[in-house]
């Protein structure tokens, strides 16, 4: 999905702000969100981390940039809980107002009226899987990435589309996020580390001697 989350190479965000001696959680609400993610799983609203990542990709893009990391998680958790019918937007809004919240404030959650059904029991706790066929590419192979994006969840960042790189590692077959996020099964695919020269990604503006590595699934790749 060509969403705000796909940040690699975007310009204009300015310098990195570092907070010295940062705590694991800045406020109780951040830990609340963390615990609610687990609760959403127990309530059957969340089946896998690919589904959760896609729920975050679907939140309000302005909230994505302004509500912070746990605000994004909150948006994803609320999206999934509403989609699963565990809570309703109206009852949550009422409790926000009761706590002095602004009823007109921007809400990150963007529940779909026709959500994917992700009834999923993983085949193993680890995301690695065994498949019968051999990997298509070997270490050293030159590969070309897909040129276009897709509407759903995917792990090929926009900045690396339509680019040529070289395979540096073959990691075996793994659960395929593009399928798993949408409840279409694990559909395991071979996973490769592919290295791209900075110039292949950024042209003449690339910094000297930079190489960018991505972990890419076989369906994202063609022989170059």
């Amino acid at each position: 999905m060509d969403g705000i989350h796909d940040m690699g190479g975007r310009q204009g965000f300015g310098p990195v702000t570092v907070e010295p001696d940062e705590p694991a959680f800045h406020a109780r609400w951040e830990a609340r969100v963390f615990a609610m993610l687990r609760a959403a799983g127990a309530a059957g609203a969340l089946s896998n981390s690919d589904q959760f990542r896609h729920a975050i990709e679907r939140i309000d893009p302005v909230a994505y940039l302004t509500h912070g990391y746990y605000g994004r998680w909150l948006g994803g958790v609320e999206t999934l809980l509403v989609e699963a019918g565990v809570v309703t937007r109206a009852e949550l809004d009422a409790r926000v107002v009761a706590r002095g919240g602004d009823p007109t404030a921007r809400v990150a959650a963007r529940p779909s009226v026709a959500p994917d059904r992700v009834d999923y029991a993983p085949a193993a706790t680890h995301a690695g899987r065994v498949v019968a066929h051999a990997p298509r590419f070997a270490v050293g192979a030159r590969v070309l990435t897909l040129a276009h994006g897709v509407g759903g969840h995917t792990r090929l960042p926009a900045y690396a589309r339509g680019r040529t790189g070289a395979v540096t590692a073959v990691h075996g077959a793994w659960v395929f996020p593009d399928s798993n996020a949408h409840g279409r099964g694990e559909a395991p695919q071979y996973l490769y580390t592919v290295v791209f020269d900075g110039r292949a990604l950024w042209g003449a503006e690339a910094e000297p001697a930079t190489r960018i590595h991505l972990d890419l699934f076989e369906p994202y790749l063609e022989a170059a």
Binding site: A24, F25, A35, E207, R211
Partner: protein, 194 residues
């Protein structure tokens, strides 16, 4: 840009409201929240990774195992799980510097580093690490010569990356336990050198 500030007042209230609803439904207890705080404040943090690096600095055979199969090598020290299905450890040398990012979300090797710092999850770091890593590292105070190759690892699948810094020469005489204190989280992400 930073994620911190007043913009989080509304999400914090909404989180409290959602927590109250889930508690009413019997889906959450305040003890669950306490457990999360305890887990990441006290049990899972960058000290785990520092112990791994200090062992690798002290024991060449362990270093070789760590680079061969990071997942198995950290399991020797009791670390694993926590969003770290496969760990790949990438070593710095005098001519290679490694830097870890996740441009699509905020993937991070929780099992060895705990929860990521805010800046790791902020748009500025995620957008710039793949495009202008040298400029980014200079802001962190790390100036690398142009002949030092920068290898950026964008964590786009379930593989997690940990940078193995070079042991600084002045630490040569220290034992493993003393070395732990010299291994920083930032060095294991790649935005610093110890």
């Amino acid at each position: 840009m930073s994620d911190a500030g007043d913009s989080e007042r509304e999400p914090s209230i909404r989180a409290e409201a959602l927590e109250a609803l889930l508690i009413e439904r019997g889906l959450l207890t305040t003890a669950d929240v306490d457990a999360v705080v305890e887990q990441y404040n006290e049990r899972i943090g960058p000290l785990n990774g520092a112990r791994v690096v200090a062992r690798a600095w002290s024991d060449p055979a362990y270093r070789a195992r760590l680079l061969e199969d990071g997942t198995a090598a950290i399991a020797e020290l009791g670390f694993g799980g926590a969003q770290t299905d496969k760990l790949v450890v990438v070593p710095n040398t005098t001519t290679v510097h490694n830097l870890v990012v996740c441009t699509l979300c905020s993937c991070y090797p929780w099992a060895v580093l705990g929860l990521p710092p805010r800046w790791y999850k902020d748009p500025a770091y995620r957008s710039r690490a793949v495009r202008e890593p040298r400029a980014l590292l200079r802001e962190f105070g790390l100036v690398l010569a142009d002949h030092v190759e920068i290898r950026v690892w964008d964590s786009s699948a379930e593989v997690r990356y940990l940078v193995l810094p070079e042991r600084p020469a002045p630490l040569a005489g220290l034992d493993e336990a003393a070395l732990v204190a010299h291994v920083t989280r930032d060095a294991m992400i790649g935005v610093a050198r110890p």
